[in-house]
Symmetry: C2
Subunit: 208 residues, 2 copies
């Protein structure tokens, strides 16, 4: 368990364990039977907690499949910090790209689990929505950060939202392609390639 820091009370460790157990069990069961044939009761029973406890950790069944770690809520702010910490000579797109790359690294670290998770998501499209919703929660901090770097007000100017949406889309495409390649090509490479194509204005590859 690379996530459980040593200086942690038993209580907190148990909480994290329960979270991870619920999340991975959800992925496992949904992978075996399909989303509709798995109930919250099934997942809870497999982990050994009451269904009520499940809802103390996740707002809905889908979240258990989609949310990998208990600290997911902070990911947005972490990415925003990464963005602001990038060398000032980089353009906003370049800085954002570097933030994406470190995000990719974290996914790569839990390669197996993520490949599994993406498989389940691809097989159950309704989960995509949930995933987007989660990502959307980090939107505010990201837009603020982009606004700071570019000196533009995200409320007033089209550019920050434009950049963010485009980059999210590109990252998403890279991850899905990574999955289609069974994770054999490093996600970082794919993300870099995708970002490079974006920076080049998505030129028609046939016109080369």
């Amino acid at each position: 368990m690379p996530l459980t820091a040593p200086a942690m009370s038993l209580r907190e460790r148990k909480k994290i364990d329960t979270f991870r157990a619920l999340a991975s069990t959800a992925v496992k069961l949904v992978n075996e039977r399909g989303l509709d044939n798995v109930t919250v009761e099934d997942i809870s029973a497999e982990v050994g907690v009451s269904p009520r406890t499940f809802f103390n950790y996740f707002a809905c069944k889908e979240d258990a499949v989609v949310i990998a770690y208990p600290d997911y809520a902070q990911h947005g702010e972490q990415a925003a910090e990464t963005l602001l910490a990038a060398p000032p000579e980089l353009s906003a797109l370049e800085a954002l790209t570097s933030a994406l790359v470190s995000h990719a690294d974290r996914i790569q670290e839990d390669r197996e689990e993520w490949l599994h998770r993406i498989a389940v998501i691809e097989a159950n499209p309704s989960l995509v929505s949930r995933l987007i919703a989660i990502g959307g929660e980090s939107e505010l901090s990201m837009l603020t950060a982009i606004g700071r770097r570019t000196g533009l007000d995200p409320e007033e100017d089209l550019y920050p939202g434009l950049l963010f949406s485009a980059v999210c889309g590109v990252f998403n495409a890279a991850v899905r392609h990574w999955y289609r390649l069974d994770g054999k090509q490093p996600l970082e490479e794919l993300v870099r390639a995708a970002a490079a194509a974006l920076a080049a204005g998505l030129p028609d590859p046939g016109k080369n």
Copy 2:
């Protein structure tokens, strides 16, 4: 009712009317009370149909807010056709942009309703997910069309998915910005501007 063609049986017209009534009532009520304080029963009662009938039209409450027209399912294929029909000298990005613009026109036609709908969606972020999911249903036909234009297999090559995701994100950003401007600037202009920025590689505006 601009959508009800004259050569249509009473049956079909009533179906469309019911659909539109449910959709617009859903938007209205959710706008007034918030998503959580509106039940399917409320919406059905206001329209004058049974709750069971509601579910004959929509898979879930959210869909009634998000899906504007009964033929939404065909939009993906229509867009794909538009894409293939675009002049062959255009790049894939340019062709896709022109498809987006005609999509923008359709939204512009029902300006009021859409502004209302977007307001509700912005106020209830969980709806965004649903919206994305709907858009995702058109993904396959779009990817196929992009693959045809570029001569690339969407399964094998990163580019088609990349282009599609980026363009969707950009369109999304343009629509939201349109909403923030109260629809005062033509959506078409915003979409064109956004697509132009994308084609230019999203250069940092500060570096001008």
